[in-house]
């Protein structure tokens, strides 16, 4: 640092002595008074940039700490079931006997895992054709006012709080299922229908983006070859957007898997292996939310719930991983 300054001082002095840079005249004073220290100081712009960099780094560090803390905390409590309460992991994953307050041999999440996957897959399965149809309509057929109206309707659906969906399910869907299929109406079918409406906008808007990302040239070339609009859509647009559509479906599934409140209101919350689509059952999230407040921190019932949370966290990481994998492949 100081060597640099010395060098600079020398250069300046030499320049002044030789008068090679006649325009350098500081305050009309004698040229030998040039303050090299001031010249080498950081300018205002540099300082600004440093501040900005610092703040950005700070934000990244904080978020990093937060993520590590969340994973660490959930992991610590979730694994306590297996380390300190000595629950067998196989038993936890495959048994469906759930009554943690009765001891460590009653901590089986099997029924909840099956139900969670069932509602998620079914909801995605029903929602996807609708989402693709709506997205096709919005991008390929209607490019005017109606399309933007649809867009805002979809955005509206996202904004509705999940408790409203749950209440609608409780007052409309459950009684309807009861009259049509019998039973109590609570169960996987009701949850699937509610989740269908909730994930539809997510999948749709991402599918719209997928179709918009297909280059116009492809459509034009297809038309130039004499293909009809439908042939273009089926053979060109859908193919080109395939991996992005898959990503959209997985995002929708991630949302369905993590949804708690609305599902809790219509699924019936009986921790039983679902016998059919209209028998009361329970998902991971519905058990987690309905029981967390009633357990005492650090006891087996509480740790068992944290294990469910850990399972959910692992699933959402898995969904993320899947999205990245598909993104890379395309």
């Amino acid at each position: 640092m100081s060597k640099n300054k010395q060098d600079l001082q020398e250069v300046v002095e030499q320049a002044i002595a030789e008068q090679k840079v006649p325009h350098v005249k500081f305050k009309k004073t004698a040229p030998q008074n040039v303050d090299v220290a001031k010249l080498t100081k950081a300018s205002k712009e540099t300082r600004q940039e440093r501040w900005g960099k610092g703040l950005t780094f700070l934000a990244i560090i904080l978020i990093g700490i937060l993520i590590i803390a969340i994973i660490g905390f959930v992991g610590m409590h979730g694994l306590a079931t297996f380390t300190s309460d000595k629950v067998n992991i196989g038993h936890f994953l495959f048994s469906s006997e759930w009554n943690p307050s009765a001891g460590s041999s009653h901590v089986g999440a099997g029924a909840m895992i099956v139900t969670s996957f069932a509602v998620t897959l079914l909801a995605a399965l029903i929602a996807t054709p609708f989402a693709i149809a709506v997205a096709l309509f919005m991008t390929e057929f209607e490019l005017g006012k109606r399309s933007s109206l649809l867009q805002s309707v979809m955005e509206l659906l996202v904004g509705i709080p999940s408790v409203v969906y749950g209440f609608l399910g409780l007052t409309v869907v459950v009684p309807a299922i009861r009259t049509i299929f019998g039973g109590t109406g609570f169960g996987i079918l009701a949850a699937t229908l509610i989740l269908f409406v909730m994930v539809l906008p997510t999948i749709t808007s991402l599918t719209v983006d997928a179709f918009k990302a297909v280059p116009k040239e492809l459509r034009k070339s297809s038309a130039a070859l004499g293909a009809t609009r439908w042939q273009t859509i089926y053979h060109v647009v859908l193919r080109a957007a395939r991996s992005r559509i898959l990503t959209a479906i997985i995002f929708g599934m991630a949302r369905a898997f993590g949804e708690a409140l609305a599902v809790q209101m219509v699924i019936g919350n009986a921790v039983l292996m679902p016998a059919n689509l209209v028998s009361p059952s329970a998902t991971l999230t519905s058990q987690l939310t309905s029981q967390m407040g009633n357990t005492v921190m650090g006891t087996l019932p509480n740790n068992a719930l944290w294990s469910l949370a850990l399972l959910l966290l692992a699933m959402s990481l898995f969904f993320n991983f899947l999205v990245r994998l598909i993104g890379k492949r395309s």
Binding site: A42, R50, W51, K53, G54, L55, F57, L58, I61, N99, S101, L170, T171, V174, P175, R178, T184, G185, F186, Q264, M265, G268, N269, A270, V271, L272, P280, A282, T289, S290, Q291, M292, G293, N294, T295, V296, M297, G298, T299, P301, N302
Partner: protein
């Protein structure tokens, strides 16, 4: 130049939390966390107390009895509310906590309007919830399968109900619902359902309240334990409460709150009770035994 950069970063990291801490001036802040069943009462009392003592700051949160007890045990909050005795909860050291009972709430079995039954014996009620009786016909009602809707495992209301009605027997694995409101909604709309809710929620005509052993579920039957299904609302503090916390608890127990706010929100005043119950459900009469005859 890198060194300088790091330095400003360090100052930021050090100063931001300091600033945040400096902002929250602590002026007799009392945090109440726990049972959602008592939340409306404490919230209203907290508001009134704040208006009378402007320097006070009372924050009321739900979260459930288990949360309330573990938070107050950990010293994270000043008051933890619960509708179960701390002694009955594993993982809670009740000797470190001080119990302040602030009100009593009744619990009533309810059924769908169309089951054709308005009274059940305690024994039949037990048989229904343990799955021995599965049709309303067996208890003098319509030919309709019984659908049991239980409360979430570990909830205060369920604990009381199972202690007093099931007497140690295991309830059948059935639907579970978390809140009084949802239970009421389901029972009123689903044929053949039975469940139980707190008195404050059982105030409309869409559901059938059930008498037990011909005793009607009304408040004055609770005072003498003629109606046995009732629970205390507890406020737990860790050790002796601080001065400001004690002042708030005294306010909740004062005539003004117990005479007006407590009945208005559907509870019973703790002062009116003619019996008391301990954590093992042993009933003792309050006051002079000669007067009780």
């Amino acid at each position: 130049m890198r060194k300088n950069n790091l330095g400003s970063l360090l100052t930021l990291i050090l100063f931001v939390p300091l600033l945040l801490v400096g902002c929250s001036k602590d002026q007799a802040k009392i945090t109440v966390v726990g049972a959602s069943s008592v939340q409306p009462l404490v919230e209203q009392a907290g508001n009134d107390y704040h208006l009378a003592h402007l320097s006070s700051n009372i924050v009321v949160q739900g979260g459930g009895s288990g949360t309330g007890l573990s938070q107050v045990q950990a010293g994270a909050v000043e008051i933890g509310t619960a509708d179960v005795f701390a002694e009955t909860q594993p993982g809670i050291n009740a000797r470190k906590l001080v119990d302040h009972q602030i009100a009593v709430v009744g619990i009533v079995p309810i059924a769908n309007k169309d089951v054709g039954v308005s009274n059940l014996s305690a024994k039949n009620l037990m048989r229904i919830f343990t799955g021995k009786i599965t049709n309303w016909r067996q208890v003098g009602g319509k030919n309709l399968p019984i659908i049991v809707i239980n409360r979430s495992r570990g909830s205060g209301t369920r604990t009381i109900f199972e202690d007093l009605i099931l007497q140690g027997k295991e309830a059948i694995n059935s639907q579970e619902q978390d809140s009084n409101g949802t239970v009421k909604k389901i029972v009123s709309s689903t044929p053949g359902t039975i469940s139980y809710i707190s008195f404050p929620y059982a105030n409309d005509s869409h559901i059938q309240k059930l008498s037990i052993n011909q005793v009607k579920p009304v408040n004055h039957n609770i005072l003498t334990n003629k109606w046995p299904l009732w629970a205390y609302e507890h406020m737990y503090t860790k050790g002796k409460p601080s001065k400001s916390t004690a002042a708030f608890i005294d306010y909740v127990l004062s005539e003004k709150v117990q005479k007006n706010l407590v009945p208005k929100t559907g509870y019973l005043s703790i002062h009116e009770m003619k019996v008391s119950r301990d954590s093992k459900n042993k009933i003792t009469k309050i006051g002079d035994p000669h007067e009780q005859k």
